[in-house]
């Protein structure tokens, strides 16, 4: 028997203390390796690649936290664009210098406390996360009175409300003009640091008694209630927690693209996130991560199909928009051949990887 095989000899319960310690070390090693790769990318790769890597980190945060409420708790909701917008606006309003604010609010001046506040990025992000979580908490009371399709419609409506408010609350958001001059502070470390924190919290939560309760609500809400689980408060927990991280990701997004306006936070953003988690596999954190990375880079790789090319002696002129056609075809393909998404509800585990490497055994 190989060493790897002996290490994870399958017992009656996979969570023996020794296995858990081994997994912790492997995870820490993987984090160190990931950090090393990021450092390498920052120093060796071009600015464009770094930008895409940073963006994919933010999408990982968004997808993983969106998956918590949609995939694990099974509450089909369509509001992340509202949370991202809230986080982006709050962070930006806190970090832009008072002078810059005075210059950009042309039509109506910014209201008082905001006009003088000037905070560093970290506290601004935390405040933005808390504000977004608070918004989710308040929104949860009316929203979780309904389920299923109705929930989707109600949350979709809230997403639009936030955008409309951003468009019209001139003295806070500067209306359609948006906020300019946001410092470019988001780098690889911020994005992937937040991604790591989100993954830590979500994975730990999902693998705890609370995670089991959330999945129980997804599987059968009536039975979960009958077993003493207050479905409303557990949905609130998942919703608020995902809003907290989505808000912070919004803040980092604002500091990556440096200009925000309400038109950035349309339903299209939610739609993209939905594609990511559905293609990755609803209810799989690994799937959400994979989906987010594939989506961010896939869009760029597919630019190839828009360039003029010579195929079998045929000159094909570049067709703008061809990318979206190919993208749609891939999407249809995934839904035809892997209806549960790439990973279904499976998760990456060290047990599985070691089995693959050491024994060539199947999924553990």
């Amino acid at each position: 028997m190989s060493l790897a095989g002996r290490i994870f000899k399958a017992g009656p319960l996979p969570d023996a203390a020794g296995t858990r310690r081994r997994d912790t070390w492997l995870t820490l090693a993987a984090c160190a390796l990931g950090g090393g790769l990021l450092w390498l990318a920052e120093n060796q790769a071009g600015g464009y690649v770094v930008h895409m890597l940073t963006l994919s980190g933010l999408f990982v945060v968004l997808a993983v936290s969106y998956n918590l409420i949609n995939g694990f708790t099974g509450q089909f909701s369509l509001e992340p664009n509202a949370f991202v917008a809230c986080g982006a606006y709050v962070t930006a309003l806190l970090t832009i210098s008072p002078l810059e604010k005075e210059a950009s609010f042309i039509l109506e001046p910014l209201i008082w406390p905001l006009s003088v506040i000037h905070l560093p990025l970290l506290p601004a992000l935390l405040i933005a996360g808390l504000c977004t979580a608070l918004m989710a908490f308040v929104m949860g009371f009316p929203v979780f009175r309904v389920r299923g399709d109705y929930l989707a419609i109600v949350t979709l409506g809230f997403g639009e409300v936030v955008r409309v408010v951003a468009n019209n609350a001139q003295s806070v958001t500067n209306g359609p003009l948006g906020l300019k001059g946001i410092a470019h502070l988001t780098n690889l470390w911020w994005a992937w640091g937040l991604a790591g924190a989100t993954l830590f919290v979500v994975v730990r939560l999902v693998h705890s008694s609370y995670g089991r309760a959330l999945k129980a609500i997804r599987e059968d809400e009536t039975a979960a209630e009958a077993m003493g689980i207050n479905a409303f408060w557990h949905k609130m927990l998942a919703f608020t927690l995902s809003a907290f991280f989505e808000g912070m990701a919004g803040g980092l997004l604002a500091h990556l693209i440096t200009t925000i306006s309400p038109s950035l936070f349309t339903f299209f953003m939610t739609f993209n996130l939905l594609i990511i988690i559905v293609v990755g596999g609803l209810g799989s954190t690994t799937g959400a991560v994979l989906g987010a990375i594939l989506f961010t880079f896939g869009g760029e790789w597919l630019r190839v199909v828009e360039e003029p090319a010579t195929l079998f002696g045929l000159d094909i002129p570049g067709i703008p928009g061809m990318r979206m056609v190919v993208f749609s075809l891939i999407l249809v393909g995934v839904m035809l051949f892997a209806r549960q998404g790439i990973l279904g509800r499976n998760e990456f585990s060290w047990r599985w990887l070691l089995a693959r490497l050491g024994m060539g055994r199947g999924r553990a």
Partner: protein, 266 residues
């Protein structure tokens, strides 16, 4: 009636024009092994849904250990000590057998979600205890070796047992079993009867059950209440109820002389 574990007075439930339950009075004493029987559509499951807060009553009240249950959420009723199983099995299909039972412990978990995320000692201790107790409960119902199996992969009879284990995990004083023997073969039914008796004798859990298998009911229950069209038509010890003309009429229609409920399946 004072001293009863569960007291139901004048409980009614109306669905549109249908009076599903018509001022039901029922008391379950501590340590009781009581049965609720009646033809299909008599209002038995509705009665369970009213007790557990899944359906709001149109009138009357339910008290558990002297405490009114009116208007409480099902999860609240459960945490007060009333657990149930479902007639049409409602397991968490995508979770493992053990996880299904562990979900039952969650309602009484003391550690908050932050402590669970950070795996603080308080949570870790509770989690370990839940696992140990969960395995014990699976052993108790005879599913000890199937803990890592997906719940939906279990055979029908095993799924019913898992529902009981999950209900037990919530730490009930009163267990409501909705047709626990449905779909079981005679061997499984006999084992189930032994299990239910053990729950009462060894664990001190009072049981109120709905069942159509008359052999099972007559041998297990110590008192019966018979419903028909939402009304109580008879109550008493199994022997008395069995020969009650009103009961025979409800089950088989008028004009029969013999006692058809003797033994056998209804």
């Amino acid at each position: 009636m004072s001293g009863a574990l569960l007291e139901i007075e004048g409980l009614s439930c109306r669905f549109g024009g249908l009076l599903a339950l018509d001022s039901l009075d029922l008391a379950v004493e501590p340590g009781a092994l009581a049965g609720l029987i009646g033809p299909n559509g008599a209002g038995k499951t509705t009665c369970f849904n009213l007790i557990t807060g899944r359906v709001r009553p149109s009138g009357g009240n339910v008290r558990f250990q002297g405490r009114p249950l009116a208007g409480l959420r099902p999860s609240r009723v459960n945490r007060l000590g009333v657990a149930r199983t479902f007639q049409n099995i409602r397991l968490f299909d995508d979770l493992t057998v053990l996880e299904n039972v562990l979900v039952g412990f969650h309602g009484r978990l003391k550690a908050n979600f932050l402590s669970a995320i950070l795996r603080l000692p308080a949570y870790a201790r509770e989690d370990r205890r839940m696992h140990d107790r969960g395995l014990e409960l699976l052993d108790l119902v005879g599913l000890g070796r199937l803990g890592q199996e997906r719940a939906s992969n279990l055979a029908y009879g095993q799924q019913r047992l898992l529902e009981i284990a999950r209900a037990l995990a919530t730490g009930p004083r009163l267990l409501l079993l909705d047709e626990p023997a449905a779909g079981m073969n005679p061997n499984e039914t006999a084992a189930l009867a032994r299990l239910v008796r053990r729950l009462r004798d060894d664990m001190g859990i009072s049981v109120l059950l709905i069942e159509h298998d008359m052999h099972f009911v007559m041998n297990l229950c110590e008192s019966l209440t018979v419903l028909d069209h939402g009304r109580v038509i008879a109550r008493g010890a199994p022997r008395e109820v069995q020969s009650d003309p009103a009961v025979i009429e409800a089950y088989l229609g008028a004009g029969l002389e013999t006692a058809p409920l003797e033994g056998g399946h209804a």
